[in-house]
Subunit: 311 residues, 2 copies
């Protein structure tokens, strides 16, 4: 799957991923009203609105981009109907040829992590059959529980040809609270916790390599360009998924050091900046009705911004 991601990136010339993180506040009123008329002001109605909102965006941008990253929390907030639409979104994007990165940030102890890995990337043994639950192409994984929480994901990836992105340095303001702590290492030197996690990503990914990059990637926020530079060196074979571009403050120029010299090695996510583009003054002229056209324009501008930054 890392090879497919890279080939999609090369084909589109766009090292970007659109974060499908729908929020009812972003859904235009014509879609919202139609969903409530059909299903009422219910969780089903909210889920229906989100599905139609997503579909509009995907239909308008899929040819420009290599991948999408649905954030499962935005669906989970609407309970079962929400998760049903998460699955529908994953399936639809895959039909469109997109690589789907499930932003699920799961992580637990061994046997439990295995169940998450099976549900999202693998197949469950049910009697004599092997059945897929959510079937994303990649998943994001939280490393706080250590190797035996991460390795079950890697085992499933190896079997299924799928991949993970491990949280290393997240994009949020307080990510430093634990991730930036200076830690005493076995060689007597002090390093930041994110550097230690980054070194583990390299170790975990070593024997599960695609053609040029590992199936084990990392999440490093666009809002921390200096840390991105350091981590690029520590994790030479890890693809870096970079959230925090756009609405969170990251700019193309901040991203240069996340990439390798060949322009590969990183994929930049934008969520609100794309899916709620019509709410941004810059794209407001499209109007609410044409929200998906505004998203397409925002994708084109983002690609241009990153191309310019990478030279």
């Amino acid at each position: 799957m890392i090879n497919k991601l890279i080939s999609n990136i090369k084909r589109t010339g766009a090292p970007i991923v659109v974060g499908l993180d729908p929020n009812l506040k972003f859904v235009p009123s014509h879609i919202l009203n139609k969903a409530y008329e059909a299903k009422g002001e219910t969780l089903e109605g909210a889920a229906e609105a989100i599905w139609n909102f997503n579909k509009g965006i995907v239909d308008h941008v899929y040819d420009l981009i290599p991948a999408v990253k649905p954030q499962i929390a935005m669906y989970e907030q609407f309970g079962l109907p929400g998760i049903e639409v998460y699955k529908k979104t994953v399936d639809y994007c895959k039909e469109k040829g997109l690589v789907v990165i499930g932003d699920i940030k799961r992580g637990d102890i061994g046997s439990t992590s295995e169940s998450y890995a099976i549900g999202h990337l693998g197949h469950a043994q049910v009697g004599s059959r092997l059945l897929a639950g959510f079937d994303e192409d990649f998943a994001t994984v939280n490393p706080y529980l250590g190797s035996d929480g991460v390795k079950p994901f890697i085992d499933v990836c190896r079997k299924e040809g799928k991949g993970i992105f491990v949280l290393v340095k997240t994009s949020n303001p307080s990510s430093g609270e634990f991730q930036d702590r200076e830690v005493l290492c076995d060689d007597g030197k002090m390093r930041r916790l994110y550097e230690i996690v980054g070194a583990k990503v390299t170790e975990w990914g070593m024997d599960i390599m695609g053609d040029t990059y590992s199936y084990v990637g990392a999440v490093v926020g666009a809002t921390y360009p200096e840390e991105g530079r350091i981590l690029r060196d520590i994790m030479p074979k890890a693809y870096i998924l970079v959230p925090g571009y756009g609405a969170q403050g990251g700019k193309g120029a901040d991203l240069v050091h996340f990439f390798d010299k060949d322009g590969l090695g990183a994929i930049v996510n934008s969520s609100r900046g794309i899916i709620a583009a019509y709410k941004n003054e810059k794209y407001a002229s499209y109007g609410e009705e044409n929200y998906a056209d505004a998203s397409r324009a925002a994708v084109e501008d983002m690609i241009e911004d990153i191309r310019t930054a990478l030279g």
Copy 2:
């Protein structure tokens, strides 16, 4: 909800929680076959089997225990039908008067954590209505992203009268890989990462207090009794959820220091040791058909073991 948890513990005299972490390997063949006959070897069939398995156990133990802790990963592995049974299990246990701790280990950046909190502990605004998604009483939360990943959970808890348990020192063998690292603190002293996270739990929980304990608790593994002692001191007002008893190796005698002098302050989880008790030599005489009676006997023995340890 922390007050209800404590009152349930006092009423039952049992500071324990049964982990509803079903696995098809634990489900007796009569339940499995019936489910496959009704729904085929499908995700729906697997979910049906797990639901009937769970119901049998809950019906046989609910009067002995204050709380249950369903592990959502075990349901998520079966995709949508699995999550539907997670919800059904949560609802059924609440009807039985049990406190439900959703072991979901979620955690993300601010607005995304908020969505998880809304979905699991709160209410989503849908048009003019406020609707609950999963509606557990407590949830477990991963702290790796720092305060702005945890605080949205606390905000929802404050509004809803619910609680969280933050992962501090987990029960698995490699939990030390990051959690035990020695970290340089602002006062120039070195402390373990789990001590720093523990201090944050105290800080986060300070102004969201129940009658005697905070709505913000912590997860500390039974497999690390010495760390339990240290963390009890660092987090005097946090209820400690203690996994790792039984199948993972923790014993009653290891648990003494997790509790306060009054026998409160901690609640000990056992999953496999209870729900798959009939597979244990000690309870094998019950037979597969009577798996739920074996679970009841295992609950009684666990309560006895902990009572003896606490004197």
